[in-house]
Symmetry: C2
Subunit: 351 residues, 2 copies
């Protein structure tokens, strides 16, 4: 019996014949560069808490006006978020709803208070944002967004940049899907008040390696995060950092090829769900759709138990009237999954 408390309910449940629209990770392999020149017999004593210098040097070339001091390498983007929130430890943080499901526990465990601005048509409503941001210590932006797949307009991002800078409010910009935007280049939010969270997991298909990082020009954030990490996990695993550095040698065509694959899948599932009658936002980045769904618990349970199709409850992402599907799987499987969803829709009213 599914408890339907969180995505963890589905971990280890991907048996034979299961079509999983659940877990949000690429099914494609990392670029071959990830493995080339890696020497696992390297010096395996403690590394720098802040992260290996060659990796931070390479990253600093990707961020304007940066030095290696602006980065902290972490156990995935998750740890970067966790440490930043814990370093603050209190105060209000504004975030768009629907949100990535780990945001709420991370914010609350750190002792911070979430304040929500509800998305309108899957996008930030800047008027509501302005009202809600008063009195906040920070805002948390995630564009492209998990779970909405939406990408905020550059205009909105610049407006957020401006408002928060004016008010002295930190922006935490989770850009882990920055390389998976279908329509334009990423626009990284800029400024001394910005903390960008990033990762090698999604761009380079290496989620299990657990290498992410934060970028900021706020020295105090870097110091506080490193001080905490000294106690909570020490250096990020060294072989993983070497692999991350090595992926950066992959040609630009690797990312372009990925994007083509994701765009094809996006087009396929978006049209498929529209054809089935679902009301959903068109994804512009990442690899998620968040269609409206009547009876989401009943439908999700039926889908899993009778049709071996895994989907996630929108409720886990702050969207109780929706379900989330990751399309990180082959088009053939997406087609098969959509077929099963069509069958299930005959038994439970979903749209």
């Amino acid at each position: 019996m599914l408890k339907l408390k969180s995505p963890a309910d589905f971990i280890g449940k991907q048996g034979t014949g299961v079509i999983s629209f659940g877990s949000g990770q690429p099914d494609l392999p990392p670029p071959r560069e990830a493995f080339s020149g890696i020497d696992i017999t390297r010096d395996l004593r403690y590394g720098l808490i802040q992260g290996e210098l060659p990796l931070r040097q390479a990253l600093s070339k990707e961020y304007p006006r940066s030095t290696p001091d602006n980065f902290v390498i972490t156990n995935g983007a998750s740890e970067a978020l966790d440490l930043v929130f814990r370093a603050w430890g209190k105060g209000k943080i504004l975030l768009p709803r629907p949100y990535y499901y780990s945001y709420l526990p991370l914010i609350q465990m750190a002792g911070m208070t979430p304040v929500f601005t509800d998305l309108v048509d899957g996008r930030i409503d800047i008027a509501d944002f302005k009202r809600k941001v008063r009195g906040c210590r920070a805002v948390l932006i995630n564009s492209p967004s998990n779970p909405t797949g939406r990408v905020e307009s550059i205009e909105t991002l610049k407006e957020i940049e401006r408002i928060t800078q004016q008010k002295g409010i930190h922006v935490v910009s989770d850009e882990v899907y920055k390389d998976l935007i279908y329509e334009r280049e990423n626009y990284p939010i800029q400024g001394d008040h910005v903390i960008t969270i990033n990762s090698f997991s999604k761009t380079y298909c290496m989620c299990g390696v657990r290498v992410g990082y934060l970028w900021t020009s706020d020295k105090k954030v870097v110091e506080d995060v490193c001080e905490m990490k000294t106690h909570t996990s020490m250096n990020t695993n060294l072989v993983g950092q070497d692999m991350a550095l090595s992926t950066m040698r992959a040609p630009a065509s690797y990312i372009e090829d990925q994007r083509k694959i994701w765009r094809e899948r996006r087009d396929f599932i978006y049209k498929g769900l529209l054809d089935l009658g679902f009301d959903l936002w068109k994804p512009e980045g990442a690899f998620y759709v968040l269609p409206k769904c009547r009876n989401p618990r009943k439908f999700l349970t039926l889908l899993y138990e009778e049709y071996k199709v895994i989907t996630y409850l929108g409720e886990w992402f702050g969207a109780p009237d929706r379900i989330r599907l990751s399309y990180a799987l082959d088009v053939n499987k997406i087609e098969e999954g959509l077929g099963r969803i069509r069958q299930a829709m005959r038994r439970v009213r979903a749209v």
Copy 2:
């Protein structure tokens, strides 16, 4: 100028000619098994939050009456401690003083309150322990101890086991130095109320790989820790877990050979410091000495600035009248270091 706030002051300061009695990590290489059969091109998608099953299976053979369900693999022992304390989030925790320097920040960041029992002659005073343990939610034991090098008697450990079980108090037993005891085998504290913290870092000389774990038969602790880890760092890095599993194939002679080396170094530094007139406990495990020292800040600063010798302030470990030396370095270097200490003692009164 040294700030002398924490061991972090010395990170990156190991230049030419420096003798470091600072960092607590083996200078020896991992066993060759750590590298054999490792395939970095393996599936690098997310792994189980709890840890890879083959590693937990192998570990369960080392712990009596265990199954893989009793383990959570973490980013070093540090993360295991952090997650356990955060899962509790409040209450008092009793720990011996002097203590490992990360304990206090971890306890406090988690929202718990430390209660201290002061060591007598470097050992737990069971009468004081009994008085202080009342009203505590947990106790934190570290035998062999960093920074004292002392190993608690089996009698004391059994007494702690009994008292805490009777009172329904959890024991967190940090046994990361379990394989580096010079006098006897490790005695792992037993019981349903016990959470053992362990690591591959010290036994197998692979601190930078960051693979540790917790063992407990308390299902709620396992569930709570996994739930938190889902948000804070996801799975522990997969290649590191493969390396950890692989080290377990190293012959018993590897650990015995290590122990011989450490014992020789222990004997050398212990005698050397006694000859210099220091008052110190004889280490029985791990690789630390914690001699008494007059004017510790002045002496430590002189040692570093004039003699290029790194030592740590006892103050960071709750022992303001002492300094800590790690003897994780070659006997020749220990000898050279002791010679420099002798010279410095002519300028600042240390004993």
